[in-house]
Symmetry: C2
Subunit: 300 residues, 2 copies
Amino acid sequence: MQSLRHLLPSAGSLIVFEAAGRLASFTAAGRELGMTQAAVSYAIRGLEDQFGAKLFQRRHRQVLLTEAGERFHADVTLGLSHIRKSAEELRARSGGMHVTLSASTAFASFWMMPRLQKFRDDLPGIDLRIQTADRDLDLVAEGIPLGIRGGDATDWPDYELLQIADEEVYPVAGPSYLARAGTPTTPAEMTLHHLIHLEEPYRPAATWNEWFQSAGLNGAVAKRGLVINDYVLVIQAVMEGQGIALGWRHLTDRLIAAGLLVRLSDHVMTTGKGFHVAWPKNRPLSESAEKVRDWLAAQA
Amino acid sequence: MQSLRHLLPSAGSLIVFEAAGRLASFTAAGRELGMTQAAVSYAIRGLEDQFGAKLFQRRHRQVLLTEAGERFHADVTLGLSHIRKSAEELRARSGGMHVTLSASTAFASFWMMPRLQKFRDDLPGIDLRIQTADRDLDLVAEGIPLGIRGGDATDWPDYELLQIADEEVYPVAGPSYLARAGTPTTPAEMTLHHLIHLEEPYRPAATWNEWFQSAGLNGAVAKRGLVINDYVLVIQAVMEGQGIALGWRHLTDRLIAAGLLVRLSDHVMTTGKGFHVAWPKNRPLSESAEKVRDWLAAQA
DNA sequence: TTGTTTGCATAAGCTGTATTTATGCAAAGC
DNA sequence: GCTTTGCATAAATACAGCTTATGCAAACAA
């Protein structure tokens, strides 16, 4: 019985073959696998040379499995699906001491970092990896067990949620800005100041106009000012005295307590939404991931 | 659903993992796969790091699968066995237009090469690959459909055989040697000449002493001379005038007809054995392999 | 207790496999 | 006839996947 290692030009070419057959296109397979069309072409060529059989008919804009290719594809698909399922279960169940959490850079910086020592004290031995991105990643597709998600259950029907914080928004400024420009005492007065705007390309965020409305200033239009697409940079600009920005309580309360930021209004806009730790429904979490999840929820 | 390509450190590590788990030893797995123990160790390490789980308990002189490793191993074994079986069938049935023939370098050089044009004329479209080695390869283990084998059926119980040539042996010399040393006319006279000996490390071959015995020179001891372990080199030495060597008819007859070699005796030693095209019993041959087999047998 | 054997882990080094980039070609479609 | 699309292939290359060498530790035997 011959080892597959000798039977195949490379083991990876099986994965390529499966995708190309399913998608009937080398280019599409490459896209799915994160490779170029040429690499796919070589991989298939390698298999065909090794077996001495054509696995695909090349058509215009499409490839079709030959009869021999169909037979082989069915078996490869079956074999790989067993393995994939098992690998995913292994990854989920036995994530061991490594847990990945998907979150925004703002959450990572302002919420998690100040709590990291406590995390380490409370859950020694667990290595937490925080994967930041400018969008809310598809946890299933990325193979990430946990994520931090804003909104509520209707926003995330495919995920289980445990709340960490309510969404509470108020204006914040840096001490140096206030020393220079004076301290606004009413929402109306706020409209005359330099306002810094968060505009994230992929995540909805509360706007100044929404905040003014919630404060009773109907029809007020926030003056256009500095626009930044990353909340970490927004807060940095605020601390640099560039203006006033909206502050989310769960992200800014420690900075305020430390005197690095000043809260400017008694009015808090609450949206009825919140920030949650989320995980995909119907997928097992490893023991460690469950611990991380519960720890996060317990910080509320 | 995440691609296996992203889920695994490398697809090849699955094959390594299967072998290591089955054999409970990284060293044994390396042996089976043609790798070093260290390479196996790294492959397993890669899997363990990627999954964040220990797959093996390291014991003295042995590794044992962990519980998680056992589960994964069962699925990987099942998946890979589907694929292996399919790959072997594909290889055997759809060998397509590529056929590999395992043979000695001498056979390849002196028998097949002179007939290659005729082969191409008779079987156009079939790509013949000749895999030479200094030993008779295990066709099953190597996944090679056909081989050339000396001996008879008792020597190759696991193979089917079709005869190509009888084993017939006589002395041959190069014209330049004879011009210099004179032409021996009797076997006895032959013993006084420079004799070139073939000593292959892995294949039995008729010796000068056997030839003299068959010629009736009992007790004659062939003078020790140049000893070469590759028959192609033996023939080259003969043509360079280094001495007299035994010539196998099926390999030398064309060289003799061309005047490059001279046959030196009317006595021919026949061993009752022969040279055959061989293929493993109970394994399907591709259509092309059958054609090659039949073509070879038809050259007898 | 000491010496030996065995086999996994790891550092350092390296090479050839597995790509990527660029381009050619051909089949459709307009 | 022109354009688009996608596979094949040449040339180049980088780095993953090893190999070699060595350390370490667990058994076992004397």
